[in-house]
């Protein structure tokens, strides 16, 4: 087990190095360069820009810039935002909680609802419920999220007036209820796609587990259908789902670009879009590394959880 972890960890570090090199290179290949923003600013002279270039070390060869950046990163210095000079880690920290709240809620909703739909679809295969779930999932997957968001705002905000159109809280209020009130619509809209994905995978996994011989053995033992489902089927069906959940972890934290923009939610997704718009390279690179770490971590956690749950891997 520890050997397995060491192995995975060393692979992960190699992966992160490769991702960061690619990201750094591509970002610096963009036309205009990091300081294009200031070139348009009438308040800054050519001399000011040159001074900045000198100050930030942008006149050095790219690979030296990368090594410098990477060395600082390892030491915990992720650089400073071009926009307001605050440290990249602080910028990420400011937006992280908002994204965690939104994505955590919608993912939890999606897993709970999706699992239920998937399992019920499998046990009642080809029933009316199953057909509706299939068609519903197809619609949720094929219609873009922003459309659902806009329709949601139109119906529940403009027509019915039940929920606010955006933002995370009302300025001057900020109670738990106020947060929840703001959370409902974006988290539901966001979970729609995830419910669709999760329910389809769960249905397949459950059908697969149901067709296994040990289910027949359990029936021959006189085990009730309910207990067969809970004790024999769900556990085996969830095994492949752990990997899927691990793959979703990064999206919990990096946020949903579109949904956060539609609902003006101050999360990581919007931070990324805004930072790109401002050519705020340090923040963009920070977000890139941050999400790469999460991808690696998500898969690692999934592997560890599977190893804990599945005796065939735990004891092998």
């Amino acid at each position: 087990m520890s050997g397995f972890l060491l192995n995975r960890l060393s692979q992960s570090i190699v992966l992160l190095v490769i991702v960061s090199i690619i990201g750094f290179t591509v970002l610096n290949l963009m036309p205009g360069g990091p300081l294009a923003q200031f070139g348009l600013d009438p308040g800054m002279s050519q001399k000011d820009v040159e001074r900045l270039v000198e100050q930030l070390g942008l006149n050095r060869p790219l690979w030296i810039q990368y090594l410098d950046w990477a060395w600082r990163l390892v030491q915990g210095d992720w650089g400073h935002s071009f926009r307001d000079g605050s440290s990249v880690l602080a910028v990420i920290g400011r937006h992280l909680s908002a994204t965690l709240l939104l994505m955590g809620t919608s993912t939890a909703l999606a897993i709970a609802i999706g699992s239920w739909i998937g399992i019920r679809g499998a046990t009642h295969r080809y029933s009316l419920f199953d057909y509706c779930a299939t068609v519903g999932a197809m619609i949720a997957l094929s219609v873009p999220t922003f459309w659902f968001g806009l329709i949601g705002i139109y119906i529940f905000t403009l027509k019915l007036g039940w929920v606010p159109a955006g933002n995370m809280y009302t300025i001057g209020d900020g109670s738990v209820l106020d947060y929840l009130h703001h959370l409902i619509l974006p988290s539901l809209v966001l979970s729609l796609v995830h419910v669709a994905i999760w329910s389809r995978y769960m249905r397949t996994a459950t059908l697969d587990a149901l067709s296994q011989d040990f289910v027949k053995t359990a029936r021959a033992k006189g085990v009730s259908e309910r207990r067969i489902l809970l004790r024999h089927v769900v556990g085996n069906a969830l095994l492949p789902m752990i990997t899927l959940a691990g793959m979703q972890l990064p999206s919990i934290l990096t946020g949903a670009l579109v949904t956060e923009t539609v609902f003006t939610w101050p999360g990581m997704g919007r931070l990324f879009l805004d930072s790109l718009g401002y050519s705020d390279y340090p923040v963009v690179m920070g977000l890139l590394i941050f999400s790469a770490i999460l991808v690696v971590l998500g898969n690692l956690i999934a592997d560890i959880v599977i190893a804990i749950v599945d005796p065939r891997i735990r004891l092998a």
């Binding site: 040990f214 027949k216 053995t217 021959a220 006189g222 085990v223 207990r227 599945d310 065939r312």
Partner: protein, 554 residues
Amino acid sequence: MGSGIQAVTPADVALSVRELSVSLPGGMERAHAVENISFDLMRGQILCIIGESGSGKSVTANAIMGLLPKVIRVSSGAVHLDGMNIVGLSPDKLRSLRGRVVSMIFQDPLSALNPLMTVGAQIEEVMAVHDVGTPKSRRSRAIDLLIEVGLPDPQLMYHQYPFRLSGGQRQRVMIAMALALEPAILIADEPTTALDVTTQAQILQLIRDIQRRKGMSVMFITHDFGVVAQIADYVVVMEKGRCVEQGGAEQVLKSPSHLYSRRLIAAVPHLTGKDRVPLHAADRVPILKVERLAKTYRSGSALFGKRRIVPAVNGVTFDLTSGRTLGVVGESGSGKSSLGRLLIKLMACDSGSILFEGRDIAGLSEAEFRSLRPKIQMIFQDPFASLNPRSTVGHILTVGPVAHGILYSEACERARELLSHVGLDSGAFDRYPHEFSGGQRQRIGIARALMFRPKLLIADEAVSALDVSIQAQILKLLDQIQRETGVSMIFITHDLRVASQICDEIAVMHRGQIVERGPPSQIFLDPKSAYTRELVAAIPGEQAGSMLEHAANP
């Protein structure tokens, strides 16, 4: 059929099936899976239901257990258990009988146990769902059961997960589970089919012992008359959903009255002890000479974690001349399939040499070997998985030769010729594999291998997935092809009886080594190694072999 049922007092009958019919959903090959069958399972007896695939024997068992899938249902008839008709009972009542009054074990012990639950928990579950005992008493009962089925170290076994157990051990766990509540009836659905022959002998012995000790009634489903001869008290022969013959074991085996039973019994391969008559011995040339061939499997990472090293083939030496067949016989894990894959260079060997027509092919690269590949062809085990379902038979047959530079029209002509040669009509050329039965598909597989006019055919368990009557036909076809073309064959099989039918010489493999090599007469009548003796002794029904032989040649 009625004459087979004697007047019995109800008290002697554990299970009585009367005029049972099970209907299939519309659009199937036939309207009934089982049609109008009647038999009695007597207390303290073993009743064998024998039939080929599709005979309805498993459906009968599932109907008795109330385990039929929803689309298949009992359309008429009755199943009496202790005088109570269980057809049409509510699902809850049926459930309370299952595992308590009637238990069942299945064919594949590898998948019949939940991989995420310990052996102990799975045995205890039977008692728990029927509300028997306390957690503590269930635990001690589970351990008693593990002792009863002869598993080593029951305390340890109790906490073990199924993946740690061998196939035979898992089947013992299944039996322990089935016995937990001392049921009156045990239904065994091909419980030894997936096991090695020596393990099969042990499990059959165990079922026999337990049945005698407990006075249990056993309904044993099998396709193997050897198994029937070994354990049955009473036999029911099924064909296409109908019961064609039933009676006492000795009566059915010795003097089968129905044509189908006679055909089935005649098709059972058994040890003749006679050697094959070699053909034109004069112009035999050496084809293959294998020396000290070795292959070791290594798994696990080299840097981290444990490494597992398994010597699969360990210093194997043999030779083969044209027109002869060498049987490679062994149990699972003996290295026989690895040997086959080494010979056709599907994987590289570690050391040793393979002289094919005098040239060492062991060290050849894939590119160098390519021109020789047509000369060594393989026939695979699973006729369902080895043919591409999206290609027509014609395409499957011609794609290889065309890739090797033969004109398409020429390949087509040869394909049609070969199809009729292996006993299929020429219309097969344009059809798809799913339109054929297992035996026909294996004929296609043979035709495919022959397209290249090979010098050496390697048949890896080529008849193992087929019913005995089909098996006999395919063996005959292979024999005929060898006599016509003079091709050499390496016939890999786990079944000594099959090997004895077709091989000039047999090599017995055990743990990667050939422990004995010789003509069938030597292997079966005068085995030199202890392992061969053990293998031969484990063949089911061979003690009763004279009985079967008598029936086959009246």
